[in-house]
């Protein structure tokens, strides 16, 4: 098969991978969102689909690229052409799918929780090292409340307040400050991931939130972030051939991408804000994560061109 032909297949393969991954991950995300929705509020599944797709788009784009890399390792084609085609296709897919989904996406109703979504009547609710028992709940009004933490406190009735992601129970009868803990709904508890995965999902959410915000602003920053992200992931292709052990290389790329999510979140939450204050109005400071991704991608691609033969592990080339 000619080099050009091998390269030309890559965008098609990428699109196929992307579709499969989107269907799988968005499907799971949809199940999750239906699952955690309070039973009494009802769920408009059709409205949720675009939202779920939008949430998984960056992950699907990156995963599809990784799976495409596996073929590139075995049947590399033309280096430059493959990179250019994948860069164009993946960036276009990310940008246009984000824009397209946002056009059909209907505004999700704001999460309106009350105490009955967080606390189950007649059941001990574990918070920190304590237990809260409420026998009857009507809206935010709690009847026959027992708080157990080294000792038992009893309130015939009290009120709960939900602010943001926190629920506060008024304990003034005991001259004590309100009891506060995270307002995790009864159903959310079922879907709670393990800690390490929770960290990853938190970091990932920062990226998706940024994309949504930048898209709403309709500025060039949105395009910059999309292109930077794809450019960086393409740069990691170098690591797919860093050793003669493809499995290790693949897992290494997964690790690098995971690390970049962490780095993105860190830069976005800490450094970017600090620099933004120092250099008010500076484009570089404002888009530090995007420029960081671009720079890293550029470094990887340069290193690849200089040190890692493109057909190192291919069936036809290499040792």
């Amino acid at each position: 098969m000619g080099l050009v032909r091998k390269s030309l297949i890559l965008p098609l393969l990428y699109l196929f991978n992307f579709l499969i991954v989107v269907i799988l991950i968005a499907g799971l995300d949809l199940l999750y969102r239906i699952g955690i929705a309070p039973a009494e509020q009802g769920v408009a599944v059709i409205n949720m689909i675009p939202y779920s797709v939008k949430q998984v788009l960056p992950a699907a784009c990156i995963s599809a690229l990784l799976f495409t890399f596996l073929r590139m390792v075995k049947k590399p084609g033309s280096h430059l052409l493959s990179l250019l085609l994948l860069m164009t296709t993946a960036s276009a897919v990310l940008i246009f799918s984000e824009i397209g989904v946002s056009l059909i996406e209907r505004e999700q109703p704001a999460r309106t929780l009350n105490a009955s979504n967080v606390l189950k009547p007649g059941v001990f609710h574990v918070y920190g090292e304590g237990l809260l028992y409420v026998e009857e709940i009507e809206g935010d009004s709690l009847e026959r409340v027992v708080n157990v933490r080294q000792k038992i406190q009893y309130l015939p009735r009290t009120e709960a307040r939900l602010t943001g992601n926190t629920i506060a129970i008024d304990m003034s009868l005991h001259s004590e400050p309100a009891l506060e803990f995270p307002a995790i709904t009864i159903r959310e508890r079922i879907f709670r991931p393990v800690i390490s995965l929770g960290w990853f999902l938190r970091d990932y959410a920062i990226l998706t939130d940024d994309l949504s915000t930048l898209l709403e602003q309709r500025g060039w920053e949105f395009y910059l972030l999309c292109v930077s992200l794809i450019f960086f992931v393409l740069g990691t292709n170098m690591w797919m051939r860093i050793t003669r052990w493809p499995l290790f290389n693949f897992l290494l790329v997964v690790l690098i991408i995971r690390g970049v999510f962490f780095l993105y979140a860190y830069v976005r939450l800490n450094l970017a804000n600090e620099l933004g204050k120092l250099f008010e109005g500076s484009i570089l400071a404002k888009n530090l994560p995007s420029f960081g991704l671009l720079l890293l991608g550029l470094l990887f691609i340069l290193a690849e061109a200089l040190f890692v033969p493109y057909d190192r592990l291919s069936k036809d080339g290499g040792e």
Binding site: L28, L31, Y32, I34, G35, A39, K120, G122, V123, F124, V126, G128, E129, G130, L131, Y133, E135, E143, R144, V146, V148, Q150, K151, I152, Y154, P156, R157, I186, R187, R189, I190, F191, P193, V194, S196, L197, F200, T243, R244, W245, P246, L247, F248, F250, L251, L252, V254, L255, R258, L313, G318, E319
Partner: protein, 584 residues
């Protein structure tokens, strides 16, 4: 040269990797326990070893998957690889390499199922026990130091003793206790010497009266026919002035009166004993068992050989054990392993009829200790409220004992009736059975009723299944148990499927080294389990979402059926993928 079997290499790699992982995790856990100061000295190594075992079993899926990946992607025999590269059809078929490994994977899955469903909960329980002992020991040590600082030597001695019952080889504490014992002895000697002048002062105070005043008092008591007092004051006057004739006369007359109608000494003793025994017996017959016990206990000190006293003391003690227990039974259990923070609703009946009482009763047991002598509770709080929110009962008791399915809170001192530990009632009072509350939950389930989220992990899979109804009756969310049950069922399947997929993935992405891999490759191996673990976390989470969705929208049973069906499909896929691997 004969070509070694890749399956043999795979097995050697697998067992070596499992062994190395186990050793690394044990060493890591022991070191972190030693450095982290999370356990007292005698417990450190044990806690570390159990932690290591726990980590090993919990992470056995990524460890096993990594081992399989390594075995089939890095450590297979390079000569076989050369043979596979000789040309299409010249290499050995892949199923020839892998058939023995598949059998091994099935055997290992059985071992994993046993370890994960049975051994892991036991290890979790053991760890909880050790952590409890550790916490208790640290608390005793802190209390002892505080007491020592406040010069409460007896308290300090008591807490040092409790600490040493957990860690008997702690030299530092042994020395401290010896020092405290010495200080207590010195203090006792000093206090004895101090009391002497006080007694002297009392006598002086008595003698502060003039002889005339004392004589006047003696005369007044004579007139009132209080001959005991008259004799006493007359004797005091004579002690001050032996020649006082009036005092002598009063003393003689008073004595005549006293000896005139009093029986002889032996008669008095017999009468007193008879009356005291009668009093004890009456109390026993009237159901005042505690009064009877103390009466006979007191008599046994004066008349240890009296047959009636021995008999009735034994009888009252027997009856006592039904309604109360002694403080000295409970105190030693402070240093025994137990469970903290047990909290549950005590409303449902235990025979399964689930006839709920009119109100709700919440029971909090700060510490629960199971001993061969019975189950003891430390720090009990019980709250009972009616449907209209009225507080019916609120009590706190320092100690309790499980007696015939009742929490008995009547804790007595063995010889001092003043030193008892009864419940304090902030609302309500003792019920028909005194200071006892019926326990309407199965005692063997109590350890799982606490705010510690790990308590579910301490249940074996059969226990998870059996406890579902009781768990709900005790005021806990049934969905937690059922979801844990589903995830517990998932893991053995996941172990099997992931192992098979790891073989395929390893082989498909095997290393292209013709000789030995470079040294750097071996350095990278420890990173692999972490990477694989992340991928497996994603897989587990995907299962959790799917099963959770079915669970909340349909039912537990449907989720269970789906789980089995899905795993069957995944198993078929993993076998197909394995069969599809080629050597060319």
């Amino acid at each position: 040269m004969a070509v070694k079997s890749p399956a043999g290499t795979a097995m050697r790699t697998l067992f070596l990797f499992l062994l190395v992982s186990l050793i690394v995790l044990l060493v890591y856990s022991v070191l972190t326990t030693l450095i982290g100061d999370r356990a007292i000295r005698s417990l450190q190594i044990r806690v570390g070893l159990y932690q290591g075992l726990r980590l090993f079993i919990e992470h056995l899926i990524p460890i096993q998957a990594t081992a399989m990946l390594l075995a089939y992607s890095l450590f297979f025999n390079s000569r076989v690889y050369e043979a596979t590269r000789a040309g299409p059809g010249t290499g050995r078929s892949f199923h020839g390499f892998v058939s023995r490994t598949v059998v091994l994977i099935i055997v290992l899955t059985s071992v994993y199922t046993f370890l994960y469903t049975s051994s892991l909960p036991l290890i979790q329980r053991k760890l909880q026990e050790l952590e409890y002992l550790n916490r208790s020991a640290q608390s005793f040590l802190s209390d002892a130091k505080d007491a020592e600082k406040n010069k409460q030597l007896d308290q300090a001695h008591f807490f040092y003793n409790l600490y040493l019952s957990i860690d008997p080889d702690d030299r530092e504490v042994l020395e401290k206790r010896a020092k405290i014992v010495e200080e207590i002895a010195v203090s006792n000697r000093e206090s004895k010497e101090k009391t002497k002048p006080t007694e002297q002062q009392e006598i002086e105070a008595q003698r502060g009266f003039s002889t005339e005043e004392l004589l006047g008092k003696a005369g007044q008591y004579m007139q009132r026919e209080d001959y005991f007092s008259a004799h006493y004051y007359a004797s005091l006057v004579l002690a001050m002035d032996p020649s006082n004739q009036d005092a002598e006369n009063i003393r003689i007359r008073a004595w005549e009166q006293l000896t005139g109608y009093l029986p002889s000494k032996s008669d008095t003793v017999a009468t007193e004993l008879f009356e005291a025994k009668l009093e004890g017996l009456t109390a026993l017959e009237e159901g005042k068992t505690i009064d009877a016990y103390y009466q006979f206990k007191s008599l046994s000190e004066s008349y240890p050989r009296d047959v009636d006293v021995i008999e009735f003391l034994e009888e009252s003690r027997r009856r006592m054990s039904e309604i109360s227990f002694f403080e000295d039974e409970v105190q030693p259990t402070l240093a025994l392993p137990g469970i903290t923070g047990i909290t549950f609703l005590n409303g449902g009946s235990q025979d399964g009829t689930n006839t709920r009482r009119a109100g709700t009763q919440v029971v909090y047991l700060n510490r629960t200790v199971n001993t061969p002598n019975g189950i003891y509770f430390h720090g009990i709080e019980i709250l009972d409220f009616s449907r209209d929110g009225r507080l019916m009962l609120h009590l706190t008791a320092p100690y309790g004992k499980l007696v015939e399915n009742h929490i008995n809170m009547q804790c007595l001192h063995r010889s001092d009736p003043e030193n008892t530990f009864y419940p304090k009632y902030e609302a309500g009072g003792p019920g028909e059975k005194g200071h006892m509350v019926a326990l309407n939950q199965k005692i063997q389930h109590l350890p799982y009723y606490n705010p510690d989220r790990k308590s579910i992990y301490r249940m074996g899979i059969s226990e998870l299944w059996r406890i579902r109804d009781s768990y709900e009756r005790a005021g806990y969310d049934r969905q937690d148990i059922e979801m844990e049950f589903l995830m517990r069922i998932l893991n053995p399947f996941l172990f099997l499927v992931v192992s098979l997929l790891a073989v395929s993935m390893g082989w498909a992405n095997r290393a292209r080294y013709l000789g030995r891999p470079p040294l750097l490759t071996y350095v990278m191996i420890p990173v692999l389990p972490f990477l694989v673990s992340n991928v497996i976390d994603l897989l587990v989470h995907a299962h959790r979402i799917l099963l959770g969705f079915i669970f909340v929208t349909l039912s537990f049973t449907v989720a269970l059926v789906l789980l089995i069906a899905l795993q069957a499909v995944l198993l078929v896929i993993s076998l197909l993928v394995l069969a599809g691997q080629i050597t060319d």
